[in-house]
Symmetry: C2
Subunit: 430 residues, 2 copies
Amino acid sequence: MSLTPDRLARMDATAKVSQLASAARKAARTLSVATGAQRRAALLAIADAIESRSAEILIANEKDMARGRQGLLNASLLDRLLLTPDRVNGIADGARQVAGLEDPLGKTLRQSVLANGIELKQITVPFGVIGMVYEARPNVTVDAAVILLMSGNAALLRGSSSAADSNQILVTVMRDALTTTAISPDVIQLVPSDDRETVKALLHARGKVDLVIPRGSADLIRMVVDESTVPTIETGAGVCHVYIDEFADLTKAIPIIINSKVQRPSVCNAAETLLVHKSIARDFLPIAMKALNEAGVILHCDGASFALAGEIPVTTATVENWSTEYGTLEMNVAVVDSLEAACDHIATFGTQHTEAIVTEDKANVARFIALSDCAAVMVNTSTRFTDGEQMGFGAEIGISNQKLHARGPMGLEAMTTTTWIVTGNGQIRS
Amino acid sequence: MSLTPDRLARMDATAKVSQLASAARKAARTLSVATGAQRRAALLAIADAIESRSAEILIANEKDMARGRQGLLNASLLDRLLLTPDRVNGIADGARQVAGLEDPLGKTLRQSVLANGIELKQITVPFGVIGMVYEARPNVTVDAAVILLMSGNAALLRGSSSAADSNQILVTVMRDALTTTAISPDVIQLVPSDDRETVKALLHARGKVDLVIPRGSADLIRMVVDESTVPTIETGAGVCHVYIDEFADLTKAIPIIINSKVQRPSVCNAAETLLVHKSIARDFLPIAMKALNEAGVILHCDGASFALAGEIPVTTATVENWSTEYGTLEMNVAVVDSLEAACDHIATFGTQHTEAIVTEDKANVARFIALSDCAAVMVNTSTRFTDGEQMGFGAEIGISNQKLHARGPMGLEAMTTTTWIVTGNGQIRS
């Protein structure tokens, strides 16, 4: 019995997700026994299908856009939702790019032979079934599916209801493409977004779903982390700091600060707070604040930096300021007594994403690395480099903000787990 | 203000755990900046102190034993609780052994130089603060603390109230020993066990505690997984299978089955179910069931194996049997139509711990590995080899039953996370 939309619509959320997960689990076997070449061929078939069925995809997207315009979606959300011929081709190209990456499965991570002749090998294997919970952008539907397929995992995709028509056609096109390959179409399942309860059902499908990855707003991520009994990987929030040490090369410091804040303020690796060592604050901060002001950045200051602002209009920073991910051209400024004090501030207000230090002192670099407790430490460079593509991963399913399993940008490898293969010739334990 | 037992007793559970976690977090800095030699020295100081204060430890343990005898503890639990001079020396030796292991911190996992000259390095770093929730055995208090310290983590230890006096003296001895080292004694914190709510408070201390590891009964582990908003690593339950393939060397099969079930039935890597391919069942099963019966194993059979039991007294297996981790000399037996059917059974009733296949056919080995979805696959050997010591880890903090972060036996390395160190010379993103 196939899971027709009609049958699904009559089930409650838990039953829906359970059925979809079971179908995905069964189909995942076609992935776990497939060769890398077969998984690559499936991705290329998906890419071709997306390009050749571009017209259908754009028509479905226009339905979402029309609903969005009538509804409450603002310009920024509408832009995230919009697909154009170029964007559709970009999605297909993304799938081809993933197909060209190194196969993450079957890699030997450790190997040894025990005294009794038993051979030990730890290899990479797929998780099995991975759920994605995400918001407006329909390209995530394909980006996530192809990364999960290439790493041998079935995908349960729960996008936003605002993108329901776009997501439905993209999943249909991908599933149709798989019918011509060695991979079962059931490895891609769209979780209905017309029922809010399906998200919770996904988060409680322990045993049926191996991992859930949320991508989207801080509220979404918090809900996933709080609710889920399925293991999750927290992605996203970035309150990143740039610390200018007493031994900084100040000619490097200004471009790094400006780039970290201004180059693309809406993303999670943009900086929100500038911390400056007290011994250089008097000379450096007026120049830095002027440069930020000229770049259009609104400044929120602690007492010491406020006193150095001069003509530049600044406000007094509140506790809320220090812990806000602005996503806009706003920045907090504080003077700190020491590198340790900078790390104290970071420990209190940071989100363990990316922390930058500008210094020429190697001992201070080592100390900052030991104390800053984050996914990526930037030494004399911009926070904006915490990025899968910049780091050469080729594809990124998100940036992990947690310490368990994966930290920082996650590529194909982060979507694998391991198995020990213990090979004997009849040995037993004595 | 120090956290005296009196002050702690007056707080509610959340405040207690929060205070202990904050003290541990602050003290953890002495670990993150310490060298491997300094952490080793701390472990050796702990080992020496445990040996030299053995008498105090035994007196405290006798208080727990006396309470246990008066209370409801059965002989098996009393034995787990008991410390003897030999066991105390064994605990100290365990700490010395961990001190002799390779330093898991600061290892470079990946390294590259980007086109713009930026250097990328992914290194291992500590989690920070790790909570352990465990049951009767007081040796876990020291075993866990030294593994966590060696991997640079502060330890919040929540043992059983039945071992309260033993745990208290062991923590006191370890903390006293640390006062002579570069490591702050506050990296080891005993979470009071006189208040049941402290477990829940630990599980909800998200942001304050980086990871919680439960060790103990299935009920404990389920509670931790269900309740926790702090990331956890599920350990423990093992419903392991031995599958005898149609191409098995049957002379190897019998010793492997007997060893997997009988050698130490109480542990999680002991086997609970025997699956036999139908084409060899008629010849092989009567011999296998006779051998199991002679080894004292009670058998629960499906229809096909029941019919082959002959004189051997067996019962009909229920759904409950197939999913029970006996921990005793009981075993389920089923005849399966194919390797795939064996993997279906394993997928339905297994706990993704250890699955064994006995076969001489390499293609079937590959297929079993692809389909059995577990932490360790045993090929022509006993399930009992899924064990940190057997696998050469030197120390084990538990066996992970989950796919996220660590799978199978966890040594020092599993108690680390990673940081990207991105080193530039003023580069910015264009």
